[in-house]
């Protein structure tokens, strides 16, 4: 699929104002195109047409990752155990875009409960989404459907995605679009089918940096329904667009073992930033580099093993006639409806919090997180932002991916788990190509400094040929 110019959210608003289109037309044309795209690439699991009021986003199609609740629309987080579940409330992030007039047009494909970086771990009975630029390759995960449809549509649109360890920026980089994962607590998690509560963040996947700023401004803010949501004031993120990067201090990370085309792209982008007036310096994060992956997986899997306890064939989702003893019933439902990666992660997380092992694994990982947080805090005393590759490799083929072990698969998250573990805002944007495959670079800033990311990403986006 060749890259194409898509109307931005601002252009969509102007088009409606000029009466060159109507809300009904934009929604209908997006849905028609998305159905054709999805038939081939499997980005959307459920189509819908939910709107509640008029506002600045009237007529704008918004898709939502399947792990976010949309009232009355089947919501499964790509898991067979949630078959038939129709929430009776909206996630706060969904409600916020509905309150601005947007239309929720579909739920997007993902790894089951977010368990993966490549969107190949979809649950039992779910299709695997493919890369819009090369169908033999993965589209990245876990928000693969959100990134895929954002890349493939020619209509104005954005997707509400979610990241635990890199699930916004990874698929966005493999699909050649923009992904913005905000600070932990910036966007309410109410109505999210949790993966790991201390790590989950909701953010937009968009075609442009301007759209990302616009969408984040709407999604952000304190929510009484989520006590971990922040009281921090929400600035106007769109005001960070178009600002000069002169004097900004950028720390560059270019790890060994990264694909050469990606390293060359880091080098070119570094030179571009210097031309724009930023200062650059090579930095290292030795603790994060060595310990972020085991720390992240121990915390994420421990937390997720408690979150999965509620899925047992009662109250919602897949249910059978409850005749056996409760232990047999719950075990039967869970053993037949969870996919392979969900079982693997459930076993690992349960082990790490069992009596006798908890101190050595889970509690130690909480200490390791402190070391990593301190390392980032020290780094942000010296630089404003970090520039690094988003992923160490280009989007792999399905065949290549099938040959690696689960541990090797986890190690692919090397560059994204650090910012996620530390709850830092980070953003990917497309900065180049190798053949037909996009290259994405990642910017990371200190807590609640999303404006710096937006200023920097917008400057890079505008300066690129």
């Amino acid at each position: 699929m060749t890259p194409h110019k898509t109307p931005t959210i601002r252009e969509h608003i102007e088009a409606l104002r000029n009466k060159s289109t109507t809300p009904e037309e934009t929604i209908a044309s997006f849905t028609e195109e998305a159905k054709t795209i999805s038939k081939r690439y499997h980005y959307i699991t459920t189509f819908c047409n939910e709107t509640t009021t008029k506002g600045i986003l009237t007529g704008l199609p918004v898709t939502v990752k399947d792990c976010l609740c949309v009232r009355g629309v089947e919501t499964k987080a790509s898991s067979a155990i949630l078959e038939g579940y129709k929430p009776v409330f909206n996630a706060t992030s969904v409600q916020r875009v509905l309150d601005k007039g947007a239309t929720i047009t579909g739920k997007t494909a993902q790894d089951e409960f977010g368990y993966g970086g490549f969107a190949v771990n979809t649950g039992i009975g779910f299709e695997i989404p493919t890369n819009p630029h090369d169908e033999s390759r993965v589209c990245g995960g876990s928000s693969g459907g959100s990134a895929g449809i954002t890349s493939a549509t020619t209509k104005p649109h954005f997707s509400i995605a979610e990241s635990t360890g890199g699930s916004i920026v990874t698929p966005a980089s493999y699909c050649g679009v923009v992904g913005l994962c905000p600070t932990y607590g910036r966007v309410s998690r109410y109505g999210l089918l949790d993966y790991a509560n201390s790590l989950d963040k909701i953010g937009p996947i968009t075609k442009t940096v301007e759209d990302a700023a616009f969408a984040l401004e709407i999604l952000s803010g304190r929510d009484e329904k989520d006590p971990t949501s922040s009281h921090e004031n929400v600035p106007s993120y769109t005001k960070a667009l178009g600002k000069s990067v002169k004097g900004m201090r950028i720390g560059i990370i270019a790890p060994e073992g990264t694909d050469e085309s990606i390293l060359n792209n880091v080098h070119d982008t570094k030179e571009l930033l210097e031309e724009l007036g930023a200062t650059t310096t090579t930095i290292e994060l030795p603790l994060t580099d060595s310990y972020a992956i085991p720390t992240y997986y121990l915390l994420a899997l421990t937390e997720t093993s408690t979150n999965l306890a509620k899925y047992c064939g009662l109250r919602y989702g897949y249910q059978e006639v409850p005749t056996d003893s409760y232990n047999e019933y719950f075990t039967h439902i869970r053993s037949t409806r969870f996919g392979k990666e969900a079982k693997r992660r459930l076993l690992l997380g349960t082990f790490a919090r069992m009596a006798g092992y908890r101190n050595a694994y889970y509690m130690k990982a909480l200490q390791a997180r402190t070391h990593i947080l301190n390392e980032y805090a020290q780094t942000f005393g010296k630089v404003d932002c970090i520039l690094s590759p988003t992923m160490p490799i280009l989007a792999p083929t399905f065949n290549e991916l099938s040959k690696i072990t689960p541990l090797q698969n986890y190690l692919m998250d090397k560059l994204t788990v650090g910012p996620n573990l530390a709850g830092l805002p980070h953003m990917t944007l497309p900065t180049g190509w190798k053949g037909s495959l996009p290259i994405g670079l990642m910017l990371t800033a200190h807590h609640f400094q999303e404006e710096k990311l937006i200023t920097l990403a917008h400057a890079i986006e505008r300066a690129l040929p």
Binding site: Y85, Y297, V321, T323, S335, L366, P406
Partner: protein
């Protein structure tokens, strides 16, 4: 830490999973490899713990009655119910 088949089955029982013989054979070496890798964090010196990326103070709301899920909504996704209650499996 050696992950034995007995430990694997004990963990599976705790999280209400019944593993097929094929799953046991597949998961055992994979879990061993992953858990051995996780043990790398033992190298780090002891310090305070960070449950969240930013410290979060308990958030309390006023102790007043507020709207919550109605019984009708609570039962909307329930397939088997009886007289307004969820029907579950036998506990004994």
């Amino acid at each position: 830490m050696k992950i034995t088949k007995e430990l694997l089955l004990s963990v599976a029982k705790n999280c209400r999973l019944e593993l097929t013989p094929e799953e046991q054979e597949e998961f055992l070496p994979q879990l061993q490899e992953i858990i051995t890798f996780f043990e790398k964090i033992e190298e780090l010196p002891a310090t305070t713990i960070s449950i969240h990326p930013k410290p979060i103070v308990n958030e309390w709301r006023d102790d007043v009655v507020a709207p919550s899920l109605s019984q009708e909504d609570a039962l909307k996704n329930v397939k088997f119910s009886s007289r307004g209650f969820i029907r579950g499996p036998k506990t004994q």
